[in-house]
């Protein structure tokens, strides 16, 4: 066997467990959900073909747009904010200080705690009357009118439910932080030293050396962040007790999908919603990929 061919076979062999799992456990339900999205089905009675009705219905469904807008807003604010916080933490944790391992563990810890537990803790912390956050703000003598209502208010300002959800998401940036940390450790030290010798200050080195070298990591984290933020469910479910309230302020896309599928048994519509989300996510991801040629720098690759 030629080495290239052999290498390909080895690759497939290593990927075989995943491919097998995908074909057996994921591909079937995926194909079924495409079929389902063109049917009306309440699970207990036979499905009826309805053509593209579920997709047309979504276009005219005000709650679909509310859920989509809420999720887009969550992603639009949450993803950049999350990346900045994760990168900032990674830079801090990359410093040679005592107890470095301890701090890395502490900051990563929220990422391994169950989502429900995290959401419940934040619901208490952000309680408008008795929560620790508002108690601190009250201590700063903030006027009562400007006090955040968090999960009891649908407003953006003073901070209401959606800012609360975003704040919760930022707390769980440990996974992105670890990837940034790995990226930072891959920045070639000879380049850093050369820049130092040339007289570059620390901010200059960060802006003109570290950030460009980190762009592949930023690219990866942004794509994963966008996909993750569109799939937000646990936090919105817990803080609103499954309602998406107050006044639909925490009605995220997946929560809306879940409510149709498992509370109202509209399986066909829920499947259509899932495929619409897939199309949206695919488009955004492709856009980000397309834009990556302009801002992602791969070492050793010539830019066109």
């Amino acid at each position: 066997m030629r080495p290239r061919r052999r290498e390909a076979w080895e690759g497939y062999a290593f990927a075989a467990p995943w491919i097998g799992g995908f074909l057996m456990l994921t591909a079937g339900p995926m194909l079924f959900s495409i079929w389902l999205s063109f049917h009306r089905w309440n699970v207990l009675q036979p499905a009826h073909y309805v053509g593209a009705f579920n997709y047309v219905y979504a276009a005219h469904d005000p709650r679909f747009w509310t859920a989509l807008t809420n999720t887009a807003a969550y992603a639009l604010v949450g993803v950049p904010l999350g990346q900045v916080v994760a990168l900032g933490l990674a830079v801090l944790l990359n410093q040679q200080v005592r107890g470095q391992g301890f701090f890395r563990t502490v900051f990563y810890l929220p990422s391994v705690i169950a989502g429900v537990a995290t959401a419940m803790v934040w619901t208490l912390l952000l309680h408008p009357d008795a929560g620790a956050v508002n108690l601190v703000l009250r201590g700063l003598h903030l006027p009562e009118k400007s006090m955040p209502g968090w999960f009891t208010s649908p407003s953006w300002w003073p901070p209401g439910a959606m800012p609360g959800l975003i704040l919760m998401s930022v707390w769980g940036t440990g996974a992105a932080m670890i990837i940034y940390l790995a990226g930072l450790q891959n920045v070639p030290q000879d380049l850093v030293e050369a820049a130092e010798i040339d007289g570059a200050t620390a901010p200059q080195r960060f802006r003109h050396l570290t950030i460009p070298m980190l762009t592949p990591t930023i690219f990866f984290n942004v794509v994963m962040g966008i996909i993750g933020s569109f799939q937000v469910f646990t936090s919105s479910y817990v803080v609103s007790n499954g309602t998406g309230g107050p006044a639909d302020a925490t009605l995220t896309y997946v929560l809306y999908l879940y409510k149709h599928a498992f509370e109202q048994f509209h399986m066909g519509y829920a499947a259509a919603l899932a495929w619409i989300m897939f199309a949206i996510l695919m488009s955004i991801t492709l856009l980000v990929f397309k834009s990556s040629g302009r801002w992602v720098y791969y070492e050793g690759v010539q830019r066109r």
Partner: protein, 429 residues
Amino acid sequence: MKVSPRRWVAHLALVAAVLALACGGCGRNPARGRVPIRFSVWGTGQDFKHWGGTVRQFNESQRRVWVELELVQGAGYSNKMLSMLVGHCAPDVMAFLDKPFFQFAQYGVFEDLGPYLEKDQEIRKSDFFPQFLKAFTYHGRQLGLPWDGHTVLVYYNKDLFAREGLPEPKADWRWDDFVRVTKALTKDTDGDGRVDQFGFIAPMWLNELVWVWGAGGRDLNPEMTRCVTDSPGTIRGLRFQRDLVFKYHVCPQAREMAGMNQDSLFNAGRLAMALGGAYWMAFCRELTGVNWDVVMPPRGPAGQWSRMTTDGITMWRESPHKPEAWAFIRYLLSDRGQARIASLGRGIPARRKMAYSPAFLRPDLPQHTIRFLEALPRARPQSINDKTDEMNTVYDREWDRMLLGEDPAATGKAMARQINVILSGRGAL
């Protein structure tokens, strides 16, 4: 390695001893020789105690059937039942609230219990409160039977009334009286500018229907073909509720609840009045520091109404053990089963005889339990049909918006607009 025969015997003896110990540890299987059936019900720890006792009592009362209790915690009960029905492995006997019952009944998953009831010598259809029975009737067929029901009354803290020198409310009180006493009972006790004791609480749209009905409004028209929340009566009822929060400031907004809910506020003596069904009685009876009683919701400009809900029991149509399942259902509805429900104070027993028994009325207690029964002629259920779940999502959302400040007229119109689309079938998913 060669193993000697003696060693083989020793090994075998050891295995036999372990097996004997394991089997012996299982003890005697009490279900042996009986037909096993499964019974599912929703609930929490307290419910587990109650239902565990009922099932144990049934299992001890006869030698033919063995009931396994499957208590589902939290709000996922309907989902779990759905999954099991889809998988053709549903429990033989399933408990349901009136609302999800209707939703499931349309799928044809329940056995018609009418013929069973007709043949029964002890339990007669005429024994039941007709309102409760109707809640489990689907297109003329008795697809479920009620075990208990609830009327919604105003629970009040007698000590808080006494502290303000207010007389306890009477059954013929009116909205004006209600506003007057809630104002007197809403207090900033520590002078920090924030209310510590509330006159009333309005946590859920469904119970608050009593105000809508009191103002002459309704949720749907009697034929259930059109939503009428944009009618003047309904808007008046909604406005009254909004005024309790924003005009009279006697009801807390969500942000003022300080992490508490109706239960904890009432328990802490920080809530003077709250609407609750007969189901709330068991909780209130366990409160040690609260001296409470119940009274009919006050009379509005167009009448005085209570809300009614019903809990019932169904049999899975595909159950392989229908006679045994019926044996358990009829036990729950028998004098003995109903007496147990009555004594727990978790609802009005569905059969009149037991509802009017001392076991439910508890003349030994200071509360007027009879008022739950007196409210029955003036109690209505929410309009329930196979789209209720979908409609409740709309009601809850718009109700939320109103309690955040939206005008009641806009709320009523928004409810009607969305629900009429659901009812028209144009949005059938």
